[in-house]
Structure formats: structure tokens, C-alpha cells
Symmetry: C2
Subunit: 197 residues, 2 copies
């Protein structure tokens, strides 16, 4: 029990190494033998810790999804303007991703390899999440904070594109903290690049 919270359980180690492998080579191109080698065991031994290759992917995808949902619910509960909720929602999303950029990359790029009914469930969670951000934009337009002629679908998809690609290029060695990164990203998307005359 003394070492229990100091180390990852073997199952957690398996999932963590799998995340790195899936991020690097993609889910389909990653074999259970590759994964076993990273852990220094035989492929067959993996199955004492996990039921199947897809179970690992499910764990990675749905654990991330739960964190994103929790972050958004917290933002929605705050008594601030729609444009401020959008800003906080972006920062929260970046913070969640920053806690595990590898898992975030898998979440974004590999979820399509989930089988049914998991894939359907995942996509429903995602569309719900996106629609709640879209609502912030629509509310911001209604309140006059945002421009009236915005295509809200284009805006929200542009937003998520930017957020979701971050794990693919952002280096964890960067000195910039997640809060600061999220703030800059939100500022860029909300205020644009242009100098206000």
C-alpha cells in the first residue's frame, strides 16, 4: 500500500504506453506485439490486464470525454457573459488537453476506430459538447458582443479544429503554461490578429 500511489498500476502502464503508440503510428498500424515490446513482456501477457485492443482505445477516448464534459459544465455554471463563457471554455479545454497531450491526440485522431455502439455514443457526446460551445457564440451574437453576420457552424468548427490539433504540434517541453496558452488562443479566435484601429 505504501507504493500504491507512487506508481501506476500495470494496467495504467499498459494504457499509457498504448496511448503513445497509437499517437505515433495510429491505432490500426499499432500491433499488440509492438505494445508488449514497449513494456518488456510477451504479447499474450497483455491480456491479463486488458480484455482487448479496443478496450484500451475506449478507455482513452471516454476518459478524455468525461474530463472535457466536467470542464464545460463548470464553465456553464458561472454567472458571466456568453463571450466570457466562450473564453473560459477554450481555456478549460486547453487545460484538460495539457494534462495528457498524448491521450488528447488519440482522442482526436483515433476515435473513429471504435466499433459500434461505442462509436455512436462517442459521436453523440462530441456533438453535444460542440453544440454547447456553439450556444455561447449564438448568445454572444444575440447580446451584441459578437458580430451579427457570423456563420456559427463555421465559427465553432474552426474553433475546435484549432483546439484539437494542438496536441499534434504543441511540445510538452514548452515553457508556456496551459492557462496562458489557452488565454492566447481564446484571444486570437475572439479578437483576431488585426490591430484595432
Amino acid at each position: 500500500m505504501a507504493e500504491a500511489y507512487a506508481t501506476l498500476s500495470r494496467k495504467e502502464q499498459v494504457i499509457r504506453q498504448a496511448a503513445e503508440l497509437f499517437k505515433e503510428k495510429g491505432y490500426s498500424a499499432s500491433s499488440m506485439r509492438d505494445l508488449a515490446q514497449k513494456l518488456g513482456i510477451e504479447a499474450a501477457s497483455l491480456y491479463s490486464h486488458i480484455k482487448s485492443k479496443e478496450e484500451i482505445l475506449r478507455t482513452l477516448c471516454f476518459d478524455m470525454a468525461a474530463e472535457f464534459r466536467a470542464s464545460l459544465a463548470e464553465v456553464e455554471s458561472q454567472p458571466v457573459s456568453a463571450s466570457e463563457k466562450l473564453r473560459l471554455g477554450i481555456i478549460g479545454h486547453v487545460k484538460v488537453m495539457s494534462k495528457d497531450l498524448t491521450a488528447a491526440a488519440v482522442f482526436m485522431n483515433e476515435h473513429r476506430h471504435l466499433s459500434q455502439p461505442y462509436l455512436r455514443e462517442f459521436l453523440l457526446l462530441r456533438i453535444n459538447y460542440i453544440n454547447r460551445f456553439k450556444q455561447f457564440i449564438e448568445d454572444g451574437i444575440a447580446s451584441g458582443d459578437f458580430k451579427k453576420n457570423i456563420d456559427t457552424k463555421l465559427a465553432v468548427m474552426t474553433l475546435f479544429s484549432s483546439l484539437n490539433w494542438l496536441p499534434l504540434w504543441f511540445s510538452p517541453e514548452s515553457t508556456i503554461e496551459p492557462e496562458n496558452l489557452g488565454t492566447q488562443l481564446a484571444d486570437m479566435l475572439i479578437n483576431g490578429l488585426k490591430q484595432n484601429a
Copy 2:
């Protein structure tokens, strides 16, 4: 010869169907037997038209890359401001993607399955392309068009994230034309969502 320019060559048909398959299931999860079935032939017959599975991927990736480069060179040659070059560059990128959203999706998502030395060459082309857009942003800051405190790497990666995800969610059935879509996207990224007070 009369029908030669009215129909796609068999090789082009193979590549086109492969692009759809790769977009849908990913390169690694797409089998040559899947592809053959889409064309109504046996898997072994594919090899009269192409040398290997990877040759198809190479064709798709490098053909798209050539189109993007041509579009950017055209923009750079114009006697306009840096911020206008950025705007035209975005519109050009969207136009190129719109000509074949399927190939654009493969270009973006599956290029990592290229083997060496093709992968290296591809990544060099991409970093060059991105850096030229980054130059537009830096020039725009220098001229006072853009804000002085912008993180140019963050800005350019955000830009490309938005552009590159477009093929994954944008429906070809949409009534909006590429020119208009590119214009809106450029406006959003350059001017932001916020109402200028």
C-alpha cells in the same frame, strides 16, 4: 481516343476510390481487398494499375502538395500588403482543398503512413509552406497591420489547424462556394468574432 478525355483512366479510378477508402477507414485499416471490391475486381488485379498500396498514398499526398505550392506562389507574386497576402493565401488554400475534399482529407490525416524517404520529403514541403504563411504574419506585424504581441507560431498553427480540418466536416453538398468559404474563414481568423466597438 474519343472517349479518352471523357472518362477517368482505370488508374485514376483506382486512386480515387482509394482516397475515399483511406479517408473513411484510414490508410492502415484499408485493405487492398476492400479497394478491389469497390472497383468490382479481384485484389490481385489492382497491381496491373499500381505498383503498391503506398504508391497510391504517395500520389495522393504529393499531388495535393504540388497544388498547394502553386497556389501559394501565385499569391506571393502579387503586389499587395502582407495582411492581404495572408487573406489570399487562405482563400487559395480553401479553393485547392475544395477541388477534392476527399484527397485533401487523406493528405492531412494519412501522410504519416508514408515510408522514408517520402515522409521526410513531405514534411519538408509542409514546413516550407507553413513558414511562408508565417512570414505573412510576421510582415503584417512589422507593418503594423497585425498586433505586436502575437505568438506567430501559435497563430500559424491555429490557422492551419482550421484549414486542415475543414475537409473532415465540410459537406460537399453545401451551397456555399469555396471562394466565399475561404473569405469567411480568413475574415474570422484575421478579424476575430468580436464586434469592434
